[in-house]
């Protein structure tokens, strides 16, 4: 029964249903719980079959479905590839603009006065913002195409926390935020893809900086997960504007922004937390938020330590 292959490496229940269909029985068992392609097609299959359809008709229909699914998958891959290419093409000229800007700012082509330098600095900052947005879209496209493979290694969360702080130090100082990092030195190492963890923490800290008023507080903590001590939990806490509990799920979805007018003041594509969630999930971890409006936010995510039982994709 070659027709079964496609479903057999997907959802087992689906395969079971298909078996029943092939056996010429149980047509009516098919429902459409989700909207993803195989299930929808399966429902379409059921509806489009005349009562008492022959085995040949069914086999032909299943072949058509297989072809359609394959086409859809190829289309999805092509779309992601297109996004990747476009992002790359967009970045190249921006890189040139940033570099020329820095050359001018640093007076390499002649002295610039303070106001000129300020103008150039704004130009460079805007370009960098644009670049980081393009970066996010690119990353999203790649995550979406499931093209991302983890490259796990053992490392201390302290290092990552320090690294992400360094990346954001000037912004933290600009806003006079009180920054506190609490990382127990005795924690076991994590077994994770360091770049991804840097990205997740960088995103949370970036958001915390964005949404916390001048002279607010920003706290980062790494500890053993209370639920499972072989896992580590990172907490990023801020004294910012907070998030209505109604929106706690939504903010992790693609292109979601709680308040589009306010979000527009802050940078971002609305992809940051969606990407962070994907990265954490790739590690088998969880990411969530505890917050109410006006009382700051606490973002959490978990990662496996080297003590965790199963190791993902050993490098």
């Amino acid at each position: 029964m070659i027709e079964l292959r496609l479903y057999l490496h997907g959802d087992d229940r689906e395969a079971e249903r298909l078996r029943e269909l092939i056996a010429g029985e149980g047509f009516r068992l098919v429902d459409t719980p989700g909207s993803d392609a195989p299930k929808t097609l399966l429902a379409g299959f059921e509806e489009s079959l005349p009562a008492g359809a022959s085995r040949e008709t069914m086999a032909r229909r299943i072949e058509e479905m297989e072809r359609t699914i394959l086409e859809l998958r190829n289309l999805d891959v092509a779309k992601s590839q297109f996004l990747t290419n476009v992002s790359h093409e967009l970045r190249t000229p921006l890189t040139a603009i940033v570099t020329y800007g820095e050359v001018l700012r640093d007076g390499l082509l002649g002295e610039v006065n303070a106001r000129q330098r300020e103008a150039i600095e704004s130009m460079i900052n805007s370009c960098r913002q644009l670049l980081s947005m393009i970066e996010e879209i690119l990353m999203y496209a790649r995550t979406n195409a499931r093209a991302i493979e983890l490259q796990p290694s053992e490392f201390q969360l302290t290092d990552v926390v320090g690294h992400v702080y360094d990346m954001n130090a000037s912004l933290i100082q600009q806003k006079s935020l009180h920054y506190e990092a609490k990382v127990n030195g005795a924690l076991p190492q994590v077994w994770a893809d360091r770049d991804k963890v840097v990205h997740v923490l960088g995103n949370l800290i970036g958001n915390a900086i964005d949404f916390t008023p001048h002279a607010g507080t920003l706290r980062v903590e790494a500890r053993r997960s209370p639920e499972n001590p072989a896992w580590l939990e990172v907490v990023v806490e801020d004294s910012g504007i907070g998030i209505d509990p109604r929106h706690h799920e939504m903010i992790f979805q693609e292109f979601a922004q709680v308040d589009s007018s306010r979000a527009r003041m802050h940078h971002g594509t609305g992809l940051g937390l969606a990407i962070a969630r994907k990265f954490v999930q790739l590690h088998g971890g969880k990411i969530w938020v505890e917050s109410t409006l006006g009382s700051g936010s606490r973002f959490f995510f978990t990662l496996p330590s080297v003590e965790a039982g199963e190791r993902l994709g050993a490098a």
Binding site: H88, R91, T92, P93, L94, T95, A96, V98, T99, Y100, E102, V103, D106, L108, L109, C127, R128, L131, E135, L138, M139, R142, I148, D195
Partner: protein, 127 residues
């Protein structure tokens, strides 16, 4: 232009003309002599002809893979020990290990911070 011959020579391999121009100005104004190459083939030719002290190598070249260029440079006697600093453009495609395995000495991710670039260059040229 007298005294240029004494300046450290950097071979800049970058296919994008604007980026090449920006880096050239940056490097020249910072006290380096810059030899430009816009492709892998040009890089291989220029590295033999100009004997640079350091090679800045963009990995996304039109004619051949940047890693391939790095490996070829490493295998040659005249550039066997010349520092090669790779410039990588794509997030998450930056495979530091692949860079190092191909013989690069260091790598930087675009957009390159000019101060960082100059620091890295100075570090490798002093050593």
């Amino acid at each position: 232009m007298s005294g240029d011959a004494d300046l450290p020579r950097v071979l800049l391999v970058e296919d994008n003309e604007a980026i090449r121009g920006a880096f050239s100005i940056l490097l020249e104004e910072s006290g380096y002599r810059v030899v430009q190459a816009a492709s892998g083939a040009e890089a291989l030719h220029a590295s033999a002809a100009e004997r640079p002290h350091l090679i800045l190598l963009d990995l996304g070249l039109p004619d051949m893979s940047g890693l391939e260029v790095a490996r070829t440079l490493r295998a040659r006697e005249e550039t066997g020990s010349t520092p090669i600093v790779a410039l990588t453009g794509r997030a998450l495609e930056t495979d530091a290990e692949a860079c190092m395995a191909a013989g690069c000495t260091d790598y930087l991710t675009k957009p390159i911070d000019t101060e960082q670039l100059l620091r890295v260059l100075a570090g490798h040229l002093d050593g």
